[in-house]
């Protein structure tokens, strides 16, 4: 196994641990049984991203984005097809009665922002903890729009994409979500090096 292969394996393992942690936090926070399927990781160029998203539907996408900077910099997005995002939020918040006449769509966006925050934090937090990276993070941002518009900003300057697919299972519904991590070539190199150091102790 080459050092690069080993780094890839380690990254996939850390992401898997992060997704597991995310499921734990979601379950504890929501008091409902949320399962996240074993994630699959792919490393690709930005040009291949649009065709590789599993969350893409006919309409718009909903995403939660967080930027990070430090030893490696970039941004991470949790992406759903908007229709699926609505179903997911409705399912995990079933039984929560809104007290007033609040706009359900806005409230849904806020809830999805928290779900994205939990998932991205768990993955980035796990990676950063293990390789002892000190990162600064932006607050999470909810985005909704057409795929090309939604992914364009984050893609600018990115040389490598880490695409993680996982399936959210709540009650009887299953919703595909993509975690997209945008990294510059330099940041990806730094991450590989840090993972190499971690593997070699």
């Amino acid at each position: 196994m080459t050092p690069k292969d080993a780094a890839y394996e380690a990254l996939a393992e850390l992401i898997s641990i992060g997704v597991g942690r995310a499921a734990e936090v979601l379950n504890s926070m929501l008091g409902s049984h949320v399962r996240l399927s074993a994630p699959s990781l792919r490393v690709m160029s930005p040009a291949d991203l649009a065709g590789a998203l599993t969350s893409k539907g006919e309409g718009s996408l909903s995403a939660v984005e967080m930027d990070f900077s430090g030893e490696f910099s970039g941004s991470a997005e949790l992406v759903f097809a908007s229709q699926d995002a609505g179903k997911l939020v409705d399912c995990i918040t079933a039984g929560i009665v809104l007290p007033g006449e609040e706009d359900r769509e806005s409230i849904r966006a806020g809830t999805l922002c928290e779900v994205g925050n939990i998932v991205i934090n768990a993955i980035l937090g796990t990676i950063a903890n293990v390789i002892h990276a000190e990162l600064q993070y932006s607050v999470p941002l909810y985005l909704q729009g057409r795929p090309e518009a939604l992914l364009l900003d984050a893609s600018l300057g990115a040389g490598v994409i880490l695409l993680v697919n996982t399936c959210f299972q709540v009650e009887s519904i299953e919703v595909d979500g993509d975690i997209v991590v945008f990294l510059s070539l330099e940041s990806f190199g730094n991450l590989e090096t840090a993972l190499g150091c971690f593997i070699n102790g």
Binding site: T93, I96, E102, I107, L135
Partner: protein, 360 residues
């Protein structure tokens, strides 16, 4: 460090966002004026107290477990309204419940946690109103579309009936014409039938789909000329018809008037343009003038021209009708020099005044 944040307290005090901080021992170190106003918990009752003692939900394990990473510089944590509506007490508790979102971030040097509470009640209400307005407008649009479709159907139906009734009138005129032995009476009745036919034709176009406030004048004239020439061809007259019609749209009334003018001029050519041993060539043109505001209608033949080589007879009913209708449309007539009879009508593309009631 927490002390740096505290040094910024005068600024944080005035922010329209609820701000509070805790140190590494979970003790509240900053509680701004907005937090006091929103929760009814004064700074004196919060500062130096344990977070879970002031905001009770934060003593629960599920909240602490998410916040603990922040003490080590972990990523920001959000608490959304739908999942954590009871996180902050509401002062007084009257009126609609406030929609508040909370973001917790690590303080520099992992010296504690900064909480920012944002009130989005008004934004959410505005979004709700905007959505309701969009829904209302969509419903109104749908209603209008349905009403328009129903109106179009009625226009088609009415036009169909008018066309059929006019066709019946033409048939009755033909029957009466057949009974008469007087060629003068027959000619008058034939002209009358032709004029009614030109009116019937526009109704045919209407029920076949040319619906709208404006009607395609070029399509109407094309069909009108072909119909009139076809009727004369039935009488054994050989006619070479050339039409050069640029696309133009006029309101229904104006289109009808231009049709009647064209019908008179074309019929005149067919009647008086024949010369022995020479095929009749008839040209009908419709052009938009360079200024874009005027249309030019041309009807010309290769016949002997107007009687006496001059102007058409002002005493004839057909020419009187043409003069009257052109005047009504605000246009003007130009009789062109021969050979043949050639008339050019200049028409404003948009009528300025409504047509006189007697012509409607």
């Amino acid at each position: 460090m927490a002390s740096e944040v505290l040094a910024e307290a005068p600024i944080l005090e005035r922010l329209p966002v609820g701000i509070f901080t805790v140190d590494r021992d979970w003790l509240i170190r900053l509680w701004n004026r907005t937090m006091a106003e929103w929760t009814g918990i004064q700074a004196g009752n919060a500062l130096g107290k344990a977070l879970g003692g002031v905001l009770h939900h934060f003593s629960e394990r599920r909240y602490l477990s998410r916040l603990e990473d922040l003490m080590e510089g972990g990523p920001p944590v959000v608490f959304s309204y739908q999942l954590h509506g009871e996180l902050f007490p509401d002062r007084g508790g009257r009126g609609p419940r406030r929609v508040r979102y909370c973001t917790a971030s690590s303080l520099p040097g992992s010296s504690g946690i900064l909480f920012a509470v944002e009130d989005r009640t008004e934004v959410v209400a505005l979004v709700r109103e905007a959505r309701a307005e969009v829904s209302r407008r969509l419903a109104a649009e749908e209603e209008l579309r349905s009403a328009l479709a129903a109106k179009e159907m009625l226009i088609r139906e009415a036009s169909h009936r008018v066309k059929n009734n006019l066709a019946m009138v033409v048939s009755l005129i033909s029957l009466d014409s057949d009974k008469s032995q007087d060629p003068g009476v027959q000619a008058i009745l034939a002209d009358l039938a032709s004029r009614i036919d030109s009116i019937a034709l526009i109704h045919e176009l209407l029920y076949k789909g040319e619906i709208g406030a404006d009607v395609g004048l070029d399509a109407y004239l094309e069909k009108l000329c072909a119909t009139i020439v076809g009727a004369f061809a039935g009488e054994g007259l050989e006619v070479g018809l050339t039409t050069r019609l640029e696309p133009a749209r006029l309101d229904l009334d104006s289109t009808l008037y231009v049709g009647m003018i064209s019908s008179e001029l074309v019929t005149n050519c067919l009647k008086y343009g024949r010369m022995p041993g020479k095929a009749l060539a008839l040209e009908v043109g419709l052009h938009r003038m360079a200024d874009g505001a005027c249309l030019e209608l041309l009807v010309a033949d290769n016949g002997p021209g107007f009687p006496g080589g001059g102007q058409p007879s002002s005493g004839s009913l057909g020419w009187s009708l043409v003069t009257m209708l052109v005047g009504e449309l605000g246009g003007r007539i130009e009789v062109l020099p021969g050979p043949g009879a050639a008339t050019r009508i200049h028409l404003p593309e948009r009528r300025r005044e409504p047509l006189s009631p007697q012509y409607r």
